[in-house]
């Protein structure tokens, strides 16, 4: 089919460039420059969708972003589909595939339409009043039924293959809206040297005026004037013009978020071009030139396909050369619709009648219409619209008499609503203008000005001078010169109009006169809400759902407000508006996500030894942002087998472990020791240079915050280690106290977590393996005793060699500069492997330390555990006058008896490995809620001891040594005996080799 409704000589589409597309499987043709809407109308297609609740047939209301009805599904292929696309803004491209929504089996025959038959049963909020009996039917019957009815289009079901991107931008002036006022302001700012961004949601600039074929600028058409402006703006270096770019959110301190649609209009986008781009613009000044949105008239059947806004019809004609009908009726309460009617008439479209709701003498343009032979009836209204899938005729009532007109389209206008969305989002206060009966920008909250239609400036002359002075404000220019204003002829100011329902849909007319189309909210629904006591406009909105659809009430909110006000007998400003929220129009999730997906969702931190572990086929576990080697399965081993082997071998020979992720902080300065004294529970004054100590850090509340081994490298220099996950917060915590509580201390902190790779070698053969690689460090047991540190060289590079153990075996933690980590590791591996050393991962590390009763902060403690609870009282220096946490520890509950205490647990059957997190009771078979005594924090199979080992936090645990407690699981209850946390080598001889 080719567009039979094109009118020669009209429109801006390139008729030389035909484009084919399909709608509901049928193939149509349009032209480059069409929107899906204009192309469908050109082909005489009005019926494009079904409403949400009543499934009523719907067509196009508008030609722009405010569209509530014409929502379709668009897809390029099965991974690239998108629901609820407004046909009025979707640009046509070759091969576009569109589907109508919310209908079954077909758009013309939709079973759901029975809802419309029984619509009397479904007034606003009906579901709150029913579906309650019988109770059981709710889950089985009613709810599934309600949920099935949900939604319009279908969600995509496959991962989105497209790219998105982000740009932070900074400018002196952001102008939102590229209509006449935005363009005028921008051209004034051209060549100012100030950086300006101009954005408009449309593909072309000057839209508002482009559909105006009437107004003359110094004798020339409006477009001539527009094109001059556009030329100036486009050619100005200091102005960045962003079309297809919607400013959707106005945030604090003049940050405005824009969504640019980069490829949505292209038939075959470049593969790596982003589909959409997010702009986060920080502007010194903002000018809002967002225009005005036309309102429909509220009357019976105003939702039928073929009924649309007057300005939409004019736009389809002027910009796309499309006639929305052959015989078009007009229903208006404002003059701009006359202009539209005359434009249609001049294009050869029949306009049998203009119905004007207003009484009194005709305006000039009314007379003009008459002279052109168009019948004008005022003080009249449309009583009814006939036709189901398309308008067929309309019944007009005029002072009691009725007349029927055959029409195939009806255009309406109740007036224009200034677009206050962004102004209001900027936290500006809207003000009611009694004279023109509309809301306008009132007090501003940010560096921002509104101009043009969105500011209620109706005449072009005023608009231009307003735009010029705003631009001067925006660029801080002191220019005084009067802006030169072209001579404007035949202008039809867009003032006046009506809000609310007209006579035909008055309070006692039970007709279906729609206010909010998509959600099927009628005038009577709003009156019902008020009747039921929903007097706040916010309640009316939520009870009727008016303004809550995808168009967010751009055409309907004022009508709803006026009808509610009338029912309440209040003034409109008394009732007030609902809150404008972002986004101005819907924005893809992908645009917000932009680069942050897949690999870039979050940084993945890897150590310098990571690749080695990968080569060895290690399994990894995420720990904070890090990937850590978990265990090293050998041919077909599962985790259990691998860990058993790693444990056994490490205790028998040796094991090598990558501990690089440990946090490290260099504490330097004359007061370093004193600083450590205040931040850790331990005392550091007496720690000798070259010695190590296990330290515990509390928060002010006395609960364990972090722990780690600390080495003293010099009088004034400590090498502090922290848990992997705790590193950033510990450094922040230290800086906080240093800067704000103890500024008197002369200490500096530097993170060295990533300066050092850490290779832990543990086991009886550890010394023999690494000794030959080390220079300038005396390795003899008394020269390098347990818990000491030396600086020297290994494999020719600097090392900080820690003699310490987190396994209970003789152990060394070799710190080497990260970029040598892999090389040193390989060298150690080359020596260790032949004598049977194994690599082990975090799981084996956990088992080995558990056998020794060493805690893991975050596993055996959870932020409610004190050092005393954890059995670490020995690490608290009582003598110190103060340390962070000392006072907190003195609070009654932290000293009370029966606190959870860390103990060991033996499974009495000698074989059950308890589940971590399992709860502990003191009764065998608890039935019903029981008194929980604690829970298992760590639990493993100990290959070395050939028995399970477990740690638990048990109320008053240390006083229960030897007692039997119970661990109830789903099917059975395990018996456990409370024991010491140290399971292996109580006297601690092994660390000496």
């Amino acid at each position: 089919m080719t567009g039979s409704n094109r009118i020669a000589g009209y429109g801006e589409v390139s008729r030389s460039k035909p484009v084919t597309f399909t709608f509901d499987g049928k193939t149509y043709q349009g032209f480059e420059g069409d929107t899906l809407a204009s192309a469908l109308l050109a082909n005489g297609v009005h019926l494009v969708g079904r409403s949400f609740k009543y499934h009523r047939p719907r067509g196009f209301l508008s030609a722009g972003p405010e569209e509530p009805n014409a929502l379709v599904g668009i897809s390029r292929d099965k991974t690239r589909s998108q629901p609820n696309v407004r046909a009025t803004i979707q640009e046509l491209y070759d091969g576009l595939i569109a589907e109508s929504q919310n209908r079954w089996p077909s758009l013309t025959f939709d079973v759901g339409a029975v809802n419309d038959r029984f619509s009397r049963l479904f007034p606003a909020g009906f579901y709150y009043k029913t579906f309650m009996w019988p109770r059981s039917a709710w889950d089985k019957l009613y709810e599934p039924f309600i949920r099935r009815a949900a939604g319009l289009g279908h969600s995509p079901t496959e991962a989105d293959p497209d790219r998105y991107s982000n740009r932070y931008a900074h400018c002196d002036l952001l102008i939102v809206g590229g209509g006449l006022s935005g363009l005028t302001a921008a051209s004034e700012a051209a060549k100012s040297g100030k950086s300006v961004i101009l954005c408009d949601e449309n593909p072309v600039l000057g839209t508002g005026l482009r559909s105006d074929l009437r107004t003359k600028f110094s004798g020339k058409s409006a477009r001539v004037h527009l094109n001059k402006l556009i030329e100036t703006v486009r050619s100005a270096e200091n102005i960045q013009v962003l079309t297809r770019t919607t400013a959707f959110s106005y945030l604090a301190q003049n940050m405005v978020a824009l969504a640019e649609r980069v490829t949505e209009h292209q038939a075959s986008p470049e593969s790596d071009a982003p589909r959409e781009r997010l702009w986060q613009v920080r502007a010194q000044k903002v000018i809002l030139a967002t225009g005005a949105i036309e309102r429909h008239m509220v009357f019976d059947g105003n939702d039928k396909p073929g009924v649309m806004l007057a300005n939409a019809a004019q736009t389809f004609l002027a910009r796309y050369g499309v006639a929305v009908g052959a015989k078009v009726g007009v229903y208006t309460a404002t003059d701009t619709a006359y202009a539209a009617a005359i434009a249609l008439h001049q294009a050869g479209i029949q306009v049998p009648v203009i119905v004007d709701a207003r009484s009194g003498t005709l305006s000039a343009i009314g007379e003009e219409a008459r002279l052109l032979g168009i019948k004008v009836v005022n003080n009249a209204f449309i009583k009814r619209v006939n036709g189901r899938l398309r308008v067929q005729s309309m019944v007009v009532e005029h002072q009691g008499t009725r007349e029927t007109f055959d029409v195939d389209a009806i255009i309406t206008s109740a007036g224009w609503t200034p677009s206050l969305h962004l102004f209001s989002q900027s936290r500006g206060k809207v003000a009611w203008d009694q004279e023109t009966r509309r809301f306008l920008p009132g007090d501003y909250a940010q560096e921002c000005q509104s101009i043009g239609a969105c500011n209620g400036t109706d005449t072009i002359a005023e608009l231009i001078s307003e735009a010029v002075s705003a631009a001067r404000w925006g660029i801080g220019s002191r220019a005084r010169a009067k802006p030169k204003i072209p001579e404007i002829e035949d202008e039809v100011p867009a003032s006046g109009g009506m809000i609310g329902a007209d006579k035909g849909a008055g309070p006692d007319n039970p007709v279906k006169a729609f206010v909010d189309f998509q959600n099927d909210v009628t005038a009577k629904d709003i009156r019902l809400a008020v009747k039921e006591g929903f007097h706040s406009i916010e309640h009316v909105k939520r009870y009727t759902t008016t303004g809550m659809a995808t168009d967010q009430g751009k055409t309907s909110n004022l009508h709803g407000l006026a009808i509610a006000a009338e029912a309440l007998g209040k003034d409109i400003p008394e009732v007030g508006l609902t809150t404008f929220r972002a986004p101005y129009t819907p924005v893809s999730f992908g645009t917000f996500v932009n680069h942050n997906k897949g690999e870039l969702f979050d940084p993945t931190r890897k150590t310098s030894i990571h690749d080695w572990a990968v080569e060895q086929g290690a399994a990894f576990e995420p720990v904070s942002l890090w990937q850590r080697a978990w265990y090293f399965p050998q041919d077909g081993e599962d985790m259990h087998a691998a860990v058993a082997r790693e444990c056994k071998t490490t205790r028998k020979i040796a094991g090598i472990f990558d501990a690089s992720t440990l946090g490290k902080i260099e504490v330097v300065g004359p007061d370093a020791a004193e600083f450590m004294n205040r931040l850790y529970t331990n005392s550091w004054t007496k720690l000798g240079v070259g010695r190590l100590k296990y330290g515990i850090m509390c928060r002010e509340d006395g609960f364990i915050y972090d722990d780690g081994v600390v080495g003293r490298l010099g009088e004034n220099r400590f090498h502090v280690t922290t848990t992997t996950g705790g590193a950033p917060r510990v450094l922040n915590h230290m800086e906080d106290y240093l800067q704000t509580e103890f500024p008197d201390l002369k200490v500096w902190l530097t993170s060295t977590s990533e300066q050092w790779a850490v290779i832990a070698v543990n086991g009886p053969k550890a010394r023999e393996i690494i000794a030959p690689l080390v220079e300038d460090i005396d390795f003899s047991p008394d020269a390098l005793p347990h818990m000491s540190v030396r600086e020297g060289k290994i494999c020719g590079v600097p090392t900080r060699l820690f003699r310490m153990s987190f396994t209970g075996e003789m152990g060394f933690e070799i710190n080497v500069p990260s970029n040598y980590g892999r090389a040193v590791w390989d060298a150690i591996w080359d020596r260790g492997a032949p004598i049977g050393m194994v690599p082990y991962g975090t799981e084996t590390m956990h088992v080995l330390r558990a056998e020794k009763g060493y805690i893991i902060v975050g596993q055996d403690t959870d932020g409610t555990v004190t050092p005393h609870d954890a059995g670490l009282s020995w690490a608290i220096a009582k003598s110190k006058p103060d340390f962070v946490g000392k006072r907190g520890l003195e609070r009654p509950d932290l000293k009370a008896d029966g606190r959870p205490q860390l103990v060991g647990l033996k499974s009495l059957d000698g074989k059950t490995v308890l589940e971590e997190g399992a709860q502990i009771t003191n009764r065998m078979n608890p039935s019903g809620p029981v008194d929980i005594q604690g829970f298992v924090t760590s639990s493993y199979w100990s290959e070395t001891l050939q028995s399970p080992v477990a740690m638990a936090l048990v109320n008053g645990g240390r006083s229960k040594m030897g007692e039997t407690l119970f661990v109830p699981m789903v099917n059975e209850t395990h018996k456990v005996e409370v024991c010491d946390t140290v399971f292996l080598d109580k006297e601690g001889g092994r660390v000496h080799g």
């Binding site: 790219r163 991107s165 982000n166 740009r167 932070y168 900074h170 790596d272 071009a273 982003p274 986060q280 920080r282 680069h595 942050n596 690999e599 870039l600 940084p603 993945t604 931190r605 890897k606 150590t607 310098s608 060895q616 942002l625 890090w626 090293f632 050998q634 260099e666 330097v668 300065g669 004359p670 004034n716 220099r717 002369k746 500096w748 530097t750 993170s751 060295t752 977590s753 990533e754 300066q755 690689l773 290994i794 494999c795 020719g796 590079v797 080497v816 500069p817 990260s818 970029n819 040598y820 892999r822 090389a823 040193v824 060298a827 080359d830 020596r831 492997a833 032949p834 194994v838 690599p839």
Partner: protein, 191 residues
């Protein structure tokens, strides 16, 4: 299975240097990414009173204001905070460049291996960085020679503008692949 060692020598060769981005390079029409030349780095801390003295030790007059950097031939001092500088020396690939203090005037910690640097160069360098860095990087606001610690996507970076179209982007070692990946993704759009 864990491969056994090939050889078992006692005196191994000196360990070789291996960074996370070794050999990486990427070029688009108007921007290129590449691993910056190797250099030695020191995290320097000192308080105002001793600046003059410490400047002598460092060999560069330490800048006193935000975003300022100071340079000699090969050595650069980047202001990071009121008492904090990053010292870079491209003449030395890897050894401590500022001696540990004998007195308590300052703190010098070698962080050569902690950081990795990427050069972002080309007409679109600024735009590429603007994909992840919320700072105003226009030359007027961030002139040649400016430096700062800031964020890029979900990573912390140190940014240093070496000329109008060249940025030195430094981050912690384990973030290097993320930062590189983000820059590359941004270059696809802005490059």
């Amino acid at each position: 299975m864990a491969k056994a060692a090939s050889k078992t020598n006692t005196k191994p060769a000196v360990a070789t240097f291996a960074g996370p981005l070794d050999g990486k390079r990427m070029a688009r029409d108007s921007v290129s990414l590449e691993l910056a030349a190797p250099c030695s780095r020191t995290a320097l801390r000192a308080d105002n009173k001793s600046l003059a003295a410490v400047s002598k030790v460092v060999g560069v007059a330490l800048p006193k204001k935000a975003n300022q950097s100071a340079s000699t031939e090969s050595r650069h001092a980047l202001w990071l905070g009121p008492d904090e500088w990053l010292i870079l020396d491209f003449a030395s690939s890897d050894n401590p460049i500022v001696p540990e203090p004998d007195d308590s005037k300052y703190s010098a910690v070698d962080v050569t291996h902690r950081n990795v640097a990427i050069n972002v160069e080309g007409a679109s360098a600024e735009a590429v960085l603007a994909a992840g860095c919320p700072r105003d990087l226009r030359v007027a606001a961030f002139p040649v020679g400016s430096c700062c610690r800031t964020v890029f996507g979900k990573a912390e970076i140190i940014l240093w503008r070496r000329d109008e179209t060249t940025f030195h982007v430094e981050c912690w070692r384990s973030y290097a692949n993320y930062v590189w990946g983000f820059l590359a993704d941004a270059a696809n759009d802005a490059g």
